[in-house]
């Protein structure tokens, strides 16, 4: 499938944005609140620092997704068919999640309401990314997407990217070291390992998928070996342009290695560095976050570009 900038940008940015919002929401819902007498705000400062960055990621990601549309001005129509369409459900949850996200800031002084908003924010973020993953996982003709690893990968990678983002935002804002930071950092390292393991499993799984042959696609395989000898058209059409992308499969091994190192190994190493050397934690957090996001972009580019659509079998590609 052709990897378009708009969709990669959308899935990566909104994924880590919702991941960060999930962590913030969860932290507020179940974590310790600021109980210092006279404190203006019940929410820990780390969460406050990460909130606007996550807001920016989510918003930019969602706006990017409009770039993929042929008629972006009609995007509002996409909210109507939530009964059958995962894309529609994703749109609904994406917008609805802004309500608890904003409520969290507005109600930050009120313990109970802040906790409720946090819980709703976490749930909304989770639901949105779940729907995003299902947009792809529900498409049977693209075997590499209709795979059991796709859903956990989207959820975990969003969470992981979110944790990198939160850590970078917290250190950059100069908030003092808090015990939550230790939980966040060690969590990031564990998540990096799990994400790398899931992606490895995903790649093993899609490599083992048998290709769709022209014989299967035409139903003529029972008669013998089917070979395309004349295409219906001499130039590329929409189908070949959109679904006949080959480059990524040619260089899959190298690109997968790059994704693994940049997205998971590198950031995990820098997170460990930040744990060991709190003095270097700001720089380490920034490098980890930048490397992680770059790695996730490569990973997502591969997710689209490596996937092969069944229709290419008619063209024997």
């Amino acid at each position: 499938m052709r990897p378009t900038f708009s969709i990669i940008c959308f899935t990566v940015l909104s994924g880590i944005g919702y991941g960060a919002w999930f962590l913030i929401g969860l932290g507020v819902a179940v974590g310790p609140l600021c109980s210092a007498p006279g404190a203006r705000c019940a929410i820990p400062f780390d969460s406050f620092a990460g909130w606007p960055v996550a807001f920016a990621c989510v918003s930019v990601g969602l706006l990017c997704s409009l770039g993929h549309l042929g008629k972006p001005a009609r995007a509002w129509r996409a909210l109507s068919q939530w009964r059958s369409s995962w894309l529609s459900r994703e749109g609904v949850f994406a917008l609805v999640t802004f309500v608890p996200a904003l409520a969290l800031i507005v109600l930050s002084h009120a313990d109970g309401l802040a906790r409720l908003s946090g819980a709703l924010l976490a749930l909304g973020s989770l639901a949105t990314v779940y729907c995003t993953a299902n947009i792809y996982a529900s498409l049977k003709p693209v075997r590499a997407w209709h795979d059991r690893h796709v859903m956990p990968a989207y959820l975990l990678l969003g969470l992981y990217g979110g944790s990198l983002l939160l850590h970078a935002a917290a250190t950059l804002s100069g908030s003092p070291w808090r015990p939550e930071r230790f939980v966040l950092l060690s969590g990031t390292i564990v998540l990096a390992a799990i994400c790398g393991w899931v992606k490895q499993g995903y790649w093993r799984s899609i490599d083992a998928q048998p290709p769709v042959t022209p014989g299967r696609a035409t139903g003529l395989e029972a008669l013998g070996t089917v070979r395309a000898f004349e295409a219906p058209h001499t130039e590329e059409n929409y189908l070949l342009h959109e679904m006949g992308f080959v480059l990524a499969r040619k260089h899959a091994r190298k690109l997968r290695a790059i994704a693994l190192v940049a997205a998971f190994l590198g950031p995990a190493a820098f997170a460990a560095l930040a744990l060991a050397l709190p003095a270097a934690s700001t720089a380490a957090a920034c490098v980890a976050c930048a490397s992680g996001i770059a790695g996730l972009v490569v990973e997502r580019w591969l997710f689209f570009a490596e996937a092969k659509h069944a229709v290419t079998a008619y063209y024997q590609r």
Binding site: K71, L220, E230
Partner: protein, 278 residues
Amino acid sequence: MTTLPPPGAKKLGLVIDLDTCVGCHACAVACKEWNDGGQFGALPDEDPYGAQPHGVWFNRVHSYAVEVPGLVIGESGIARARAPDATSPASPIPDSPFPIPGLTVHFPRSCLHCETPACVTVCPTGASYKRAEDGIVLVDADKCIGCQLCAWACPYGAREFSMERGTMQKCTLCVDRIYNETLDEADRQPACVMACPTRARHFGDLGDPQSPVSKLVAEREGYALMPEYDYKPVNRYLPPRPRRGGCADAMTKASSPESLDTAQLPGVLRWLDRVLSR
């Protein structure tokens, strides 16, 4: 509404005969011509007379070579598309310098108007819909946002996105012809069916077992494409009939002296053959 309507009795669709299709592309051209000016048109092309023309066609005709290890003859005497068989041999004569005995199959590919089409249910806007009254799958161009998810959801490549219009387009089964009372009754058929010079395309109600198309499918063991996706295509393809004498036979004949089946001869010539053979 992109949730599917309850299954209806009427299932309009096409039956395409792969035995008689000669790959002339008349159906594809007639389709483009009609639909460019039809109710769902236009079908604009990018760079139509330039080096890289690019545009939407609802119908594409592929051509395949089938290397035949021996046709499977069904009970009705028709070459049968049987279930995939992991033990079936690959090419019978690998790397042969001679022409490999086989079939040329021309394969028109268009929307199959599935009974449970994923292209409809994935649509976030309701632009994609399946008609309850006759099962035709259509796109409402005024609602389509051009997200292209429906094209991704279709394993048959039935939908093409129009860069010019910014919306998805697909076969309408010529819904603006088949119910068009300004046309003669004989002309109320899809343009591709009307254009086919070998009558390899048939249009009708596949939901009615007594319809001519349903009988044709039953008689010729018509099959659905890639049933494993469970989208339940309505259109059917009729498999190629076995070639006279079989394909492998033709190969033997090409490399050996002429053979004569004396049983086919009239009595006098059979006697002459016997006398001269002494």
